[in-house]
Amino acid sequence: MTNFLNWLSTRKFQMHLLAFLLITLPPLALYFAARNGATGWIWGLIGVVLLGNLLAILTR
């Protein structure tokens, strides 16, 4: 785990860029998923945003 966290911190810019994309891109699709009542898609896309935030938390 420590090795993984160190690996992330040595690639801070790339990880922040990836986290930013994971947090900001899904909402573009979330609007249409919500309009169509596609609950499965909604939770999946929110899951992607969640993943982006987790990545931000782990990147020291």
């Binding site: 810019f13 930013f20 945003v49 969640l50 931000a56 938390i57």
Partner: protein, 511 residues
């Protein structure tokens, strides 16, 4: 119980940033996760509500990020040309007193920039200049953060005040006088705090005279302009008056002048031209109707349906944040950056490869801040749509009815802290504060003045704003240090508004 549960995301962010010194990007992620889980499992937020909340958050984030990216781009354009250093070397010719430099740049100029600019612009532009003058990065962020807070409501060409009028349906003639009075009085305390942040109590004693003169001039000008109906240029005029008065004042407080050599006036003029272009473009866009109309043709606007939680909290249908693509403050900053680049290039100030270094430097520096803002704005919007923010405000108001005037500015402050802006706080809490004031029999104008003044002064320590300033002063990852410094100053300023509100209520009830 719901009150304390709703407070958890805010408490976590404060604890992580201030207590454990986590960076904003990590703390924002924790805040988002906690808000999402609490909204879903304690406040009954369903998938549709959460989906639309994420979309609203994206619009708000883009609204903020456009300014951050472009403000930092302008800074890199100027810095690559050596303009920041040139400005830094010029000011000691006027005054070598660091406290006086802080008052001129961190207070008067910051207020002026807030008047003409918007979110985060004063701190993003001024922090690097103060670093160039020899201030520590922490002081360079804290000074303009404190220095511009009193100018927020009637800055950004009146957008926060406009939001208050829209949210309450009350005209400016009723809302403006007390609001601007509260903020103009707080301006004096702001000046003292800027002096303190620059040089401690010694600087406060030494600069008491200039602070009183500058504060009186700026506050009086803002008051006169706003109460004359020109609330959209209140802070602009106040800040401009401050800059004009600052020149003769600085000649009186020169400090220990060293032999700085001859001042190259032409080089200084070229160095300042990048920021001069910014002011000219902003004024042209905001005050010339033909230009404003032309640039307003493309607007990103998304309409949202009504959503509600399973506990009955309703978010009404309506549009999300409008983004006028070519008239947005961030776009205006981008225009200024391009023009500044051309001017500095024409003056021969760039080495080969400057454009590449500017762009790559900008992207690398703002990425961490961008993650922070995206997370924190998403947290704030989820809390708002799930009724968590409303729960917090009601808890504060209902828990202490007779002390409501004391609490009103803190509600505004809470909204600004959560959303990062005076405007958003006024939108979120304006109607709530009005209803509560009417129910409890207090003057609506007084309570709403407390709302917007508390929001303006506290907006400076919103995590999203702190991230902006920290990133331009090379303090990314140390936002907690900035917030720790700001929390005392900000708390005292909001407390001042509480006292002014209580005095106002007493006068209103006894006359």
């Amino acid at each position: 119980m719901n009150f304390f549960i709703a407070f958890i995301p805010i408490a976590l962010i404060l604890f992580l940033m201030v207590g454990l010194r986590w960076g904003a990007s990590r703390s924002g992620g924790v805040g988002y996760l906690s808000a999402l889980l609490i909204a879903r499992f304690f406040f009954g937020a369903g998938p549709e509500l959460l989906a639309y909340a994420h979309v609203r958050a994206l619009l708000l984030s883009v609204d903020v990020l456009m300014i951050i990216w472009a403000a930092f781009l302008l800074y890199r354009v100027a810095d690559e040309a050596g303009a920041i250093n040139m400005i830094g070397q010029a000011l000691p010719h006027l005054t070598a007193d660091s406290g006086m430099q802080a008052l001129i740049i961190g207070w008067a100029f910051a207020s002026f920039l807030q008047g003409v600019g918007g979110f985060g612009v004063p701190v993003a532009v001024i922090a690097p200049i103060l670093v160039g003058l020899g201030f520590t990065p922490l002081a360079a962020v804290v000074i303009p953060s404190i220095g511009h807070g009193w100018a927020v409501t009637f800055g950004s060409l009146g957008s926060s005040f406009q939001a208050l009028m829209a949210a309450t349906g009350l005209p400016g003639e009723i809302l403006a006088p007390i609001s601007v009075l509260f903020l103009s009085i707080s301006g004096l305390l702001v000046g003292l705090m800027v002096a303190h942040a620059a040089g401690g109590w010694k600087a406060v004693r030494r600069l008491l005279g200039p602070v009183v003169v500058l504060g009186t001039v700026m506050g009086t000008v803002q008051y006169v302009v706003v109460t004359s109906g020109f609330w959209n240029i209140g802070s602009f005029c106040g800040g401009l008056a401050g800059l004009l008065v600052a020149y003769p004042l600085a000649r009186r407080v020169r400090g220990e002048q060293q032999d700085n050599g001859e001042l190259d006036g032409r080089a200084l003029a070229v160095a300042l031209s990048g920021y001069g272009v910014l002011v000219i473009i902003i004024l042209a866009v905001q005050l010339i109707p033909a230009i404003k109309t032309f640039l307003s043709q493309v607007v990103i606007q998304v309409n949202f349906p009504e959503v509600s939680t399973s506990q009955g909290f309703i978010t009404p249908a309506g549009p999300g944040r409008n983004i006028p693509l070519f008239r947005h403050t961030g776009t205006v900053l981008a225009y200024s950056s391009i023009l500044a680049y051309l001017i500095y290039g024409w003056a021969g100030l760039y080495h080969p490869g400057a454009a590449g270094r500017i762009i790559s430097g900008t992207v690398r520096r703002v990425m961490s801040s961008s993650v922070s803002i995206a997370s924190m704005v998403a947290m704030a919007v989820i809390m708002e749509n799930a009724g968590m923010t409303d729960t917090l405000a009601r808890g504060l108001a209902e828990g202490i009815q007779s002390l409501y005037p004391l609490v009103a500015p803190w509600i505004g402050a809470l909204g600004a802290f959560m959303t990062g802006s005076n405007t958003n706080s006024n939108v979120v809490f304006g109607a709530l504060q009005l209803r509560t004031a009417q129910l409890l029999g207090y003057s609506a104008a007084l309570i709403l003045a407390a709302q917007t003044a508390g929001a303006a002064l506290a907006s400076v320590m919103a995590p999203t704003k702190v991230v902006v300033g920290a990133s331009t002063a090379g303090m990314a990852g140390r936002e907690g240090d900035v917030m720790r410094k700001l929390v005392v100053y900000t708390g005292l300023l909001v407390l001042l508004i509480s006292l002014l509100t209580i005095i106002g209520v007493w006068i209103h009830l006894n006359l």
